[in-house]
Symmetry: C2
Subunit: 337 residues, 2 copies
């Protein structure tokens, strides 16, 4: 019998949709397909898009997808939404995207359903991305809602991370921006037609100066963070590395989108030329390997210690007779079997 993975490799969209569900639900069939597909992965450019709520990320992803399609490249979109049993994901965002992209067979959109834990969601997202990669999608955009620690995990997954900002989101957002900017390969200031754009950009630039203080690319000084026109130029500089460019966009009418797509392509070239692509791949697969290991170790433990035994120990912890780490020591030393 022909496997689901084989049908997906032949480009069957229906099989792809079915497989994604299997993978998301972590079924035996899904896991087997992941193993079968793994040798076919490693070709896609993974692009993470992240930023605070209200910055217009969904519209931006929509416009970027249209732009990549015009260049003839296939695009997968993975929308990672906060878990919500009753909304079932970002209904709003999906509606925006579906309008322009539906009916195009070079585009596949997947909203991640809710997972119990952050770890579970990150793992499921990584697996869905792997399926798209094997299925031959050239650009995979991973959109995350939120502004906090989860961005760091997404950055690990992506080759290129876009951090989206917008004018007028309040002042106490500053400290957060500083944290997020560190993971940015490209900074997008969306809603650039809104008042306050100059202040937002100025604040971002001075924070960028803090984040990337030492190297200066020839011809640029002070506050400037424009991308060198030729990525080879940046690579040629002594340890100059990549300086995140700042791109204004108005996603609602497509302004700045072509330039943004070029920045993404240039960053991809930069990664390949500098050797950073291989480094990011290694870091990404290492964290996947560790996640798989953690979950296998827990399964092995669960096979050894029954629910009832676990519950009895939890009762001892609740009564403050054992601390969590003392309880774990009991299990580790095999006194409970």
């Amino acid at each position: 019998m022909i496997s689901l993975a084989e049908v997906v490799l032949r480009g069957d969209r229906l099989a792809l949709a079915r497989l994604l569900t299997q993978v998301e639900n972590d079924t035996a069939e899904g896991r087997a397909a992941l193993d079968a597909l793994f040798p076919h992965t490693g070709k896609a450019h993974l692009v993470g898009i992240t930023g605070a709520p209200g910055t217009g990320k969904s519209s931006l992803v929509n416009q970027l997808a249209l732009c990549f399609r015009r260049e003839g490249r296939s695009v997968a979109i993975v929308a990672v939404d906060p878990s919500s049993p009753f909304t079932g994901g970002a209904v709003l965002g999906d509606r925006v995207r579906m309008k322009d992209l539906s009916g195009d067979h070079g585009v596949f959109i997947r909203s991640m359903a809710s997972r119990g834990s952050i770890g579970g969601l990150a793992q499921a997202t990584a697996n869905v991305v792997q399926v798209f990669d094997a299925a031959g999608y050239e650009i995979i955009m991973i959109e995350t809602v939120g502004a906090g620690q989860s961005e760091v995990d997404i950055a690990k997954l992506a080759h290129t991370t876009l951090v989206v900002e917008a004018p007028g989101l309040g002042d106490d957002i500053q400290a957060i921006k500083a944290g997020i900017l560190e993971i940015a390969d490209i900074i997008v200031v969306n809603k650039a037609d809104r008042p306050g754009i100059e202040n937002t950009e100025k604040a971002l630039k001075s924070m960028l100066d803090l984040a990337h203080p030492a190297p200066r690319v020839f011809g640029h000084h002070g506050m400037s963070h424009a991308l060198p026109q030729n990525p080879l130029h940046a690579v040629g500089e002594q340890d100059a590395g990549w300086i995140p460019p700042l791109q204004r966009t108005v996603a609602t009418d497509g302004k700045g989108i072509d330039e943004l797509a070029q920045h993404i392509a240039r960053h991809g070239e930069y990664l390949r030329l500098s050797g950073d692509w291989a480094l990011r791949e290694r870091a990404r697969l290492e964290s996947e390997l560790e996640a798989a290991l953690r979950s296998a170790l827990m399964n092995q433990f669960r096979a050894r210690v029954s629910e009832e035994q676990f519950s009895q120990v939890l009762d001892q912890v609740l009564a403050r007779r054992l601390s969590p780490s003392e309880a774990v020591k009991v299990w580790m030393n095999g006194r409970l079997k």
Copy 2:
């Protein structure tokens, strides 16, 4: 020799600060102290404060702390910030708080330094909270920056979760709010003197109706989500449970803060009377137990498989000769030792 834990139990602030550092850095001394302190925990009311950037959470936490202090209760504040090597945490927020609260020995403020992973941060935060609990702080406020999955983990840690909103944060925030509202025990609409407050409140109320559709408390109908005056009333109702109240505040001038503090106290009473306090304690300690277990299992594995062996397998994965799950199977079956 007297242990650090014993000195902390006697109320020594300097020892407390030192111990928190040990615990954050996960040192052997810190772990030993956590075990020694664990029997003294379980008394504090853990209050999580979360919401999107720009809602003014830090000012709100500051005002709440002042309010609890006026009532004579001791307060610890744990600020969980996005990891940032160069900001070292929310500089801005700390400055706001320190002004009003510094010099008061009934208050202790701790900013969490950066952790490598979300799991690491959640664990370190849980441990810091445990130390404050044992040290006798009656109310422990845990403030998280961000708006996404990390809130769910904080909710697991807290007895009472406040979700902070503010007018004018954009429309595409709606889908996120729906997700966050599910974890809210109390909804705070801060910056209530700003334009758009009515619209924000209306949107929140209709989302609350979606989140809590079935039960209706006597005397309330349709859109109303006011808290019943007496928590016993709510408990007495057939399965009425807790309906999250919506409280307007202006943290900058203290408006609505007393009422908010009362909602927090009432929620604490409600949890104890309904038995939910014990359920939340159990869920919290269960997830701590699992986290401790996961980390012990990984340590055990690392003692068995050398870095070099791990790296060799990772190379195979990078070359796409082994999938991550196939690599794990090799280890699990003990073929590699």
